[in-house]
Each structure stands twice: as structure tokens, then as C-alpha cells.
């Protein structure tokens, strides 16, 4: 099966495929994925928290029907955890267990120099693939059917890890000093996500296509809720989205993102709400806002916000 001809024939096909996997995306997202598959480049996805950056990679994996391999980055992540590790314990244990065997090899030789010479023929066995513990990156390269590789929150990792990734991202290969260079059996589709906790290096950006996912537009957000939670009535959906969109324009620390909207929709569904009202919103505000100050700011304007949201519904019934 070839992705390019099969799954990435056109941008529309990608968009439909994503929609079938319950991920509503705009055309920019679809275009970027389509391009990434066709020119075999990694995609760097940026945007505020909770707009579906990680979800995107999962859905693409589902769409392609290949496994998803994920590396969660954090400060201190290094190649021994991301790429490979020697099974030191196993190496040491085998040396001990094979002691007798080694003795017999050694005993047949009289001279020390000869023994050493003889040993040299064996030393590499301990640094062979049998003693290699593959970590996510190496696993991703070894998959014969291709894979979606998600390097999550790359901005949390140290800069040296980023530098180390460059070889993987540009050539889809890694170098292991003791063994040599391992090339990808099948080039994986790579997604990197970043919350912009720090500026990423130019070198990394240069090797990736870049995708910025902003907060969704009202229409897109309604569509997402419709797909994810079809049980929600149309009226409530419009009101909710109008309310959320209004909250995002407030001066708050963490504006609610699409994942919070979905959570809120679930909550409202559980409470059998038909339409928004002030009391209901006041009670469930902590689902969409996660900071005490933010909730206070929103509560002050609750009356006007709710009224606006209810009005928005009337205005848009024609849509």
C-alpha cells in the first residue's frame, strides 16, 4: 500500500478522511498534511494548548491505518531514552555466564598476545543488535509498514535533544557509533508539536513544514461539536460556541480551547441542558476556565456574555 497514491491523492481526500475519523480540520491543515506526505517532510505543529495538535497526529495514524509511536518530551530527555540504549545489565551478565567459555578459548593459547588476538574476534558480539534496546525513535524507523511518529511538546526538551533530532528529521536515519547508520525501512510521517515554551532553533524549523493551528472559528467549532457530540441540540450548540468565542476575547490567562469546549458540551449534555442560562453557565464555568482569576473576570461579565450568546443563536438560525 502506498500512502501517496492511496491516501494522499488530493487535499479533499485528506479532508474527508480526517472527517471520517471525527477530526474536523480546515483546509490549511489538510493541505499541510498532504504536502508532508508528498514531499516527505516532518510537520511542526504549533498553536495554543488544547486546539488538537496531538489529536491531529493520532487521527492521521488512524486514517492511514498505521501504528502511532509517541515520544513525550520533557527536560532531560536524551537519546538513551528516545533512540536506543545498550542492555548493559544483559551485557554484564552474559560476560559472567560465558566466563567458562571464555576460559576454554583462552586456555588453548599459551601466549597472552595470542589470547588477546583471539578475544578481539569476539568483542563485537556484545555491541550487536541483540544487546540493543530500541526506544521510540528507533522503533519508528524499523517499522516495515510505516508509522506515524509523534514527538510531543518538543519545546519542553533541551536544545541538545533538538539538535540530535535533526539527523532523524532530515534524512530519516540515525547513527549508532557501535553499529553504524540505520536507515528508515519506510519513511515515517512525523509530527512535532510545540506550545512555544521556548523558541525552537532555526535548524529544526528549516527541516519541517510549519502548521499553525489557531483557536477555531465559530463555524468550525460548531462543526467539531456536531461531529464529536451529535446528541447536542443545534440551539445549545450555537449558544455554547458563541459564548466560548466571546470568552476568548476577554483578557484572561488561559482562554478556553476546543478541548474545553468539548468537555463543556459533555457536561451540559449530562445536565440535560436545552439552552444556556446564567445560572447554568455560572455553575459550569470551572469546566472551561482553569484559573481562579479567569473565572472571576468571566463572572463579572456573565450577564452580558450570556445574553450575547443567547442573541447570537437568534441571529444565526438562518445559517
Amino acid at each position: 500500500m502506498d500512502w501517496k497514491t492511496d491516501k494522499f491523492f488530493s487535499v479533499e481526500q485528506v479532508m474527508d478522511g480526517m472527517k471520517a475519523a471525527h477530526y474536523i480540520c480546515d483546509s490549511q491543515v489538510a493541505t499541510t498534511i498532504y504536502l508532508a506526505a508528498n514531499i516527505e517532510k516532518p510537520v511542526l505543529v504549533e498553536g495554543p494548548a488544547g486546539v488538537g495538535k496531538t489529536e491531529l497526529a493520532k487521527v492521521v495514524a488512524e486514517y492511514l491505518e498505521v501504528p502511532l509511536i509517541r515520544i513525550q518530551c520533557y527536560e532531560g530527555l536524551d537519546e538513551s531514552k528516545a533512540l536506543y540504549e545498550w542492555k548493559y545489565g544483559k551485557q554484564l551478565l552474559y560476560t559472567q555466564l560465558l566466563k567458562d567459555k571464555l576460559d576454554t578459548i583462552m586456555n588453548t593459547q599459551d601466549k597472552l598476545a595470542d589470547s588477546i588476538e583471539k578475544l578481539h574476534q569476539y568483542d563485537d558480539i556484545f555491541f550487536s543488535p541483540h544487546f540493543l534496546e530500541p526506544r521510540p525513535l528507533l522503533k519508528a524507523l524499523e517499522q516495515p509498514d510505516g508509522v506515524v511518529l509523534l514527538i510531543d511538546e518538543i519545546d519542553k526538551a533541551d536544545e541538545e535533544f533538538e539538535a540530535f533530532l535533526l539527523e532523524v528529521l532530515s534524512d530519516f536515519q540515525v547513527s549508532i557509533p557501535e553499529i553504524g547508520t540505520i536507515k528508515a525501512v519506510r519513511k515515517p510521517l512525523v509530527f512535532l508539536t510545540s506550545n512555544n515554551a521556548r523558541e525552537l532553533s532555526e535548524a529544526l524549523k528549516r527541516r519541517c513544514l510549519h502548521l499553525y493551528i489557531p483557536y477555531p472559528s465559530a463555524a468550525l467549532e460548531r462543526e467539531v461539536i456536531k461531529t464529536r457530540l451529535p446528541q447536542i441540540g443545534e440551539k445549545l450548540r450555537k449558544q455554547m460556541v458563541a459564548f466560548i468565542q466571546a470568552v476568548r476575547t476577554l483578557d484572561i490567562r488561559k482562554p478556553p480551547s476546543i478541548s474545553e469546549t468539548i468537555d463543556w458540551a459533555r457536561v451540559l449534555l449530562l445536565m440535560h441542558a436545552e439552552s444556556l442560562n446564567r445560572e447554568l453557565v455560572g455553575k459550569t464555568l470551572n469546566v472551561i476556565l482553569k484559573h481562579e482569576e479567569d473565572i472571576r473576570v468571566a463572572e463579572e461579565k456573565l450577564v452580558s456574555l450570556t445574553a450575547e450568546a443567547l442573541k447570537a443563536d437568534d441571529g444565526m438560525t438562518g445559517e
Binding site: T31, L44, S80, G89, L92, Q96, R198, R206, H210, Y212
Partner: protein, 447 residues
């Protein structure tokens, strides 16, 4: 089309988007895959391969919209239907022929080419507009067309040739208008009007930055701090876990009857400098103090211990203020709090140095970097350079930051030239760029 893409990339670069060669190549292959027929897809494809941050996306959008807006040559006035073959003499001139045939594509190509010949991308300010319009029109062959119009008019011709002349004149006016618009558009694309405010803030003297920019400055400092941290953490943390420690592993194996299977690792030692900051908080230096402190306390992950002394007419140890309060509060406390035992009279380096020698010299070790921030305007008190010399000999590095610009050093009551020989580094420091450089050297281990 590759040529046009190249021009577009040049425009992007001028607008402040950093585009490398490999990204240009990506853009070319992206364009080939997507084709040029669907404008939206074309734009999205270029956006993914050229603009690599949210800010760059915005610049990209505006550049794309103005660059790929080929709506000229679509004049609403419909050209008269006519038969060019009827005027063979007019067709001898290339430009006249194109105008008469109303061949907009060719005209656009001719204009772009003429623009390139006239080096339009070098346009920088509005004063150059008429010059470039002129150059392009000439390059396109306007004089030839003018001559043609005159020739037709003067010929004792029928109504038909008069009509041709009118058509040509109208075409000429449209053309001039179009070229003007084109030049205007090129000016907007090529002149450096893009957000260079950050750059401006970085190089403006700190004392002249207005209060309303402080918020922006703080953001800028946070970014610089992160960059510095990244740069310096790399060396210190090549791996959190070091190499295999054979000695420890062997020792451990004793408890397993000599079987080696539990590997132990060497630990990396972190190398963080201790810093002593001595700040003059007189009015002339206060601004710089504020930003330096933001830097130093922002970097406290990379710095071991920070001792802060502030002085005006006398000196006090202000470390506890910075330990106890947030950096913002601490800064406002040291500048305005009346309960602090600091006398706000005339700055006095004599008292400061004597006090430091008598009470705090023990803090200076060979791992300490001492940073003195002040303009060395000592109000004609004894300079006490020998104390500075003693500090310089004890510590790892002695850095003096002077917020005054160099020409003023040593004038009037400034003692900076007396102190200069004892400092390992003496720097003018009144912009953010200076500060960043200084803090960068502070973190690097070399002397």
C-alpha cells in the same frame, strides 16, 4: 513560475521572514505538487513551507495578498472592438501593437520584465516612485509609442486612423496608471516597514524607554533569558547521567558475589557561578538596575548564589528583599520604600567600598563573579580603588557596567578611569543588547 516564486521569497525575506535555500526548494516542490491553478491551496502550501512561526504567518499572509494580486490590466472600461490589421503602421511598434491588441498577459510580462531591468526591488522610499515609473515606462518602449501616436495624428488620415490614435492615447494613460500602481505596490513590499519594534527596543538607551514599553520589554527580556539559558544549559547538561562508573559498579558487585550486572553511572557536576551584584541606585542608574536585576534573577536556575548590595550614600545588603518578594515588588521596594535604611543623598563610592571591605569580603571566593553597576560618579570622595583591586584579585571575574556613554567617562567627578585597570571587564551598558551580552559572558565559564 520559479522566477516569480524566487521574487516572492525575496520579498518575504525583506519583510523579515527568514527563508533558507532549503525552504525555497521546499516551496518550489510544494508549488509543483499543488499546482498554480487553485490560489487558496497554493497559498496554504507556500505558507506551510515558508513561514515558520505565528508572527511569520501574519507577515506571509499580507505579503502573499499584495504580491499575488495581479488585478491590474483588468480595467473596467471595455476596450473598443477594432481590427488591428487595419492599421499596419501602428503594429510596427511593439508596445503600440500590444495596446491595440489589448494583450494584457503580454503587457504584464513586459512590465514585470521592465521592472526587473530597472531594479525595482531596490526601491526604498516614496520619493523614488516617479523615477521608477519613468524608468519602467521607458524600458517598456513608451517613447516609441508616443512617437507613433504623434505620427498617426499628424498624418492626414481618415477617421479610422484618428480613432486609432485615440485608442492608443487611452491605452497609454491606462498603462501609466497601472505602472504607477505597480511601483506603489513594490514600494510597500520592499520598504522596511515591518514590525521592527523589538529591534528598536533592544537598541534604545534604557533610560529613554517609556514606562508604557516596560511590559513589552519584560517579555523581551524573558525571551532573551530563555535563549541564554538554552545556550548555557547545553554545556552543563550534556547528559544528566554520565558515563558508566566502573569503580562503583565493581564495588557494588561485591554484594552479588562478584557478578557484574547492576551498572552504576558517573554523575555530572554542574558548574554554576556565584554572583555578587553591587548596584548604584541613584537616579541616573536606576533604569539599568531594573533591567539587569530582571536578567540576573530570571537566570537564577543557571546561577548558584546571588548576593545583592545596593548603595546610594551608604550601602545595604538587599539580598533578603529579593529572596522574600517577587522581583517586581523587590524592585519597587528598593527604589521607593522609605523604611529601608538607605540614605538617598549623593552617591558615595568611598563608603560603599570601605563597608564592603570591612563586612562582606568573605563572600568573595574564587568561584564568584562580582558585578558592579554604576556610573562611578563619586562626588569627589576618595575613590578607594585599592579595595576594588583586592576584590578583583580574590574573585573569578570582576565586571563593571557603566550606564554612561563612553565620551562622558572620566569627565567631572567620574572615577571610572581610576577603576578601569582593576576590572576584568568594563563595559558601557545602556541598552538591552549590552545587557544581554554582559549576562552571556557572566554565564560562560571563561574568564
Amino acid at each position: 513560475m520559479e522566477g516569480v516564486l524566487g521574487d516572492f521569497i525575496t520579498v518575504l525575506r525583506k519583510a523579515g521572514v527568514r527563508v533558507s535555500i532549503s525552504e525555497s526548494l521546499d516551496a518550489v516542490s510544494a508549488a509543483q505538487i499543488m499546482g498554480y491553478d487553485n490560489r487558496r491551496l497554493f497559498k496554504e502550501a507556500l505558507s506551510a513551507s515558508l513561514a515558520k512561526s505565528h508572527a511569520e504567518k501574519n507577515i506571509f499572509d499580507s505579503c502573499f495578498e499584495s504580491f499575488f494580486s495581479f488585478n491590474f490590466f483588468q480595467s473596467p472600461k471595455k476596450a473598443n472592438t477594432h481590427n488591428p490589421e487595419a492599421y499596419p503602421e501602428a503594429l510596427k511598434d511593439q508596445l503600440s501593437a500590444l495596446v491595440l491588441k489589448d494583450d494584457k498577459g503580454q503587457l504584464a510580462a513586459l512590465m514585470t520584465e521592465a521592472g526587473r531591468m530597472a531594479n525595482i526591488s531596490s526601491i526604498k522610499n516614496p520619493m523614488q516612485k516617479s523615477l521608477f515609473t519613468m524608468k519602467i515606462l521607458n524600458q517598456m518602449g513608451m517613447p516609441g509609442m508616443e512617437a507613433m501616436v504623434g505620427q498617426i495624428k499628424s498624418s492626414t488620415g481618415s477617421g479610422l486612423s484618428q480613432q486609432t490614435a485615440e485608442l492608443l492615447e487611452k491605452g497609454r494613460d491606462d498603462l501609466v496608471q497601472t505602472v504607477k500602481e505597480y511601483v506603489e505596490q513594490q514600494l510597500q513590499l520592499n520598504a522596511d516597514g515591518v514590525d521592527s519594534k523589538d529591534q528598536f527596543l533592544k537598541t534604545t538607551p534604557l533610560s529613554q524607554i517609556e514606562l508604557r514599553h516596560f511590559h513589552r520589554m519584560d517579555g523581551l527580556i524573558q525571551r532573551l533569558i530563555r535563549q541564554l539559558e538554552d545556550r548555557h544549559s547545553r554545556r552543563l547538561k550534556t547528559a544528566n547521567r554520565g558515563k558508566l562508573d566502573y569503580k562503583k559498579t565493581l564495588r557494588k558487585s561485591i554484594s552479588y558475589g562478584g557478578f557484574l550486572f547492576a551498572p552504576l553511572w558517573k554523575k555530572k557536576k554542574e558548574n554554576r557561578p556565584d554572583v555578587i551584584v553591587i548596584c548604584d541606585i541613584s537616579r541616573s542608574v536606576l533604569r539599568t538596575v531594573r533591567f539587569l536585576m530582571l536578567f540576573i534573577y530570571g537566570l537564577n536556575k543557571r546561577i548558584g548564589k546571588i548576593h545583592t548590595f545596593i548603595f546610594y550614600s551608604n550601602m545595604i545588603d538587599a539580598s533578603y528583599i529579593f529572596d522574600r518578594y517577587s522581583i517586581e515588588e523587590a524592585l519597587s521596594k528598593i527604589t521607593t520604600d522609605p523604611s529601608l535604611p538607605i540614605i538617598r543623598g549623593k552617591s558615595d563610592y568611598n563608603t560603599m567600598f570601605t563597608n564592603f571591605r570591612d563586612h562582606h569580603m568573605h563572600l568573595v571566593t574564587k568561584n564568584t563573579t562580582v558585578v558592579i553597576l554604576g556610573d562611578a560618579r563619586n562626588n569627589f570622595n576618595p575613590p578607594r580603588a585599592e579595595v576594588l583591586k583586592a576584590i578583583g584579585e580574590r574573585c573569578k571575574r570582576l565586571i563593571w557596567l557603566n550606564p554612561e556613554t563612553k565620551p562622558f567617562w572620566g569627565t567631572g567627578d567620574s572615577e571610572i578611569k581610576t577603576y578601569a585597570p582593576y576590572c576584568h571587564l568594563l563595559q558601557e551598558c545602556n541598552t538591552l543588547v549590552h545587557l544581554e551580552r554582559v549576562v552571556g559572558t557572566l554565564l560562560s565559564a571563561r574568564r
